[in-house]
Symmetry: C2
Subunit: 336 residues, 2 copies
Amino acid sequence: MISIKDIARIVGVSPATISRVVNNKQYVRPEVRQQVLAVVKATGYVPNKAARSMVLKRTFTVGIVIPDTFNMFQRQLFSIIEHSLEEHGYHTLFFFVKWDAKSELRSLRAIKAEKLDGLILIHEVNQSEFYDYLTEGSIPVVLCTFDRGLPNLCSVHIDEEAAAQRATEHLIALGHRDIGLITGMHFSFGAQRAKGYRAALSAAGIALDERRVVFVPSYNADEGKAGMRVLLSRGLPLSAVFAATDELAIGAVRALYEVGLAVPRDMSIVGFDDIDITANLAPGLSTIRQPIREMGARAAQLMSELIAGNPVARGSTVFGFELVARESSAPAPFAD
Amino acid sequence: MISIKDIARIVGVSPATISRVVNNKQYVRPEVRQQVLAVVKATGYVPNKAARSMVLKRTFTVGIVIPDTFNMFQRQLFSIIEHSLEEHGYHTLFFFVKWDAKSELRSLRAIKAEKLDGLILIHEVNQSEFYDYLTEGSIPVVLCTFDRGLPNLCSVHIDEEAAAQRATEHLIALGHRDIGLITGMHFSFGAQRAKGYRAALSAAGIALDERRVVFVPSYNADEGKAGMRVLLSRGLPLSAVFAATDELAIGAVRALYEVGLAVPRDMSIVGFDDIDITANLAPGLSTIRQPIREMGARAAQLMSELIAGNPVARGSTVFGFELVARESSAPAPFAD
DNA sequence: GTGAAAGCGCTAACAC
DNA sequence: GTGTTAGCGCTTTCAC
């Protein structure tokens, strides 16, 4: 591999001069600069990042911790963050972590070894050892789409509970009273969205029946299908279901389809997240839109400020959400 | 940041000994080894990867080049590759590249700077400068889901044309004669799948009408919707459409829904890839299944062999495919 | 078994 | 303006 010394030898100057040119520093005669640039181009020389980061003690790389089985919302989000970070001059290194202690600790080790400039979490880890590392201040940290009440960390998210309440209220406003909930275990948003659902029913004076609530292990379409089957099997009146993610909603619609029920004719469905695909389903899925672009861009920007050492307000940045009513939710039968 | 010297000082031995322990080398007294391990654990010491890779001239990192706007198939694929690579002891660094020369060249620079142990491409780049780098042999390379007839590179893919032909034949076997095609520009698979479609029609003695073929700029649902609208606007008889990806198919179904047409009652649709979501749509999408797990695992395994310097057969590894018939394709009206 | 020393590729003082 | 030097954190001979 061609190194800075090789270039120096070819041009007939010292490595220091090459370094100055490559890093756009002053104090190089224009002619020399041109010569160096020419040789760099001809040889395809690119400075070794490892060597560079060793002396600079900066890696220009920020880590992104995401769930091993990231869903479409998270996929969109991390694409956005990656792009924003790139605009701020940072590379991105992904750490896929599973929902178990071993995986978290292994990732933590890897993260430490990389000597990253910063870390963005899209995945809620659980190990206290992990949080100790995050809060000890050795690295700038931004939590994205959740917070944990850690006051000295920056986080970017929406009001999950209020949003879920809004989704449920939408169904109530359409005249539905027998409203089910499919949500997931793990990750605090699953419980927060359940809380919003309960709050909406309660505010509308609808008695909460826990048999209309299903917690599934994960947030994908397969689980949504399974969850809807459980709901149907309980035999209670049910005219609408709020699913805690769009993917759960998609699976729920599928379960209905398999038993010959149509959406929204026989059942209204509302999802959550407004992932790309929802608008293109048939019927289009009513859902809660998170301002994903703005959230991702803000996370990247906060990170960049944090790394630069600029003063940044710690704590939560709470974004607004929006109900997007599409075809999957319709007035309840016999609604007055 | 705590370094090997710190550990050495604490334990009261030399850095060399610490290195031996950390890397599981021989020639360390058991007692000393235990002591070192204890201090490593207590301090949370993790060797600096940059320093390590500088002396070893290995980074234990393989790059994955993926399209900036990766689709769900590619998302599944790179998750699989990432996991497999991890099992082989490698980290993964992603390079998102756009379909333009500037982006490709920028990524190429970044790739060179990282001094990666290997590179897997899920994205077909175009710049000859990029291919020069890939073929010059300075780094192990595996192409995944495509090949470019570069005999000295390893590639893993299916027979795109045969698979597309199979998809089209499925529609023909259901009695369809007026079959449209929606496919994309860029990436050779778009053209290969179009070729398979044409071959199937031709083999069945169905005259090819180019007005039933639409090339859209990209492979997502929005484009599928746009493509279907174009097809409908041309006013030709049409009872079935083959979409070159599942996402295109999803958009096509949506376009039909918006004008009050139902699948498969009014139109049969076949997609391609068998992404996760297709089985959970309503109706489920008939499609071509690529053996994505096997392909991803093989790509990772080839890479690992290549890095180890083991002899590996260069050229293409061609995997089989499978037609998955679900509800979106049904017999043609008036089929005999 | 263990330590001292060299060196990986680069940047940043500090001379000149 | 430019070169010399030291050193980032690590591994690896080579003495001992």
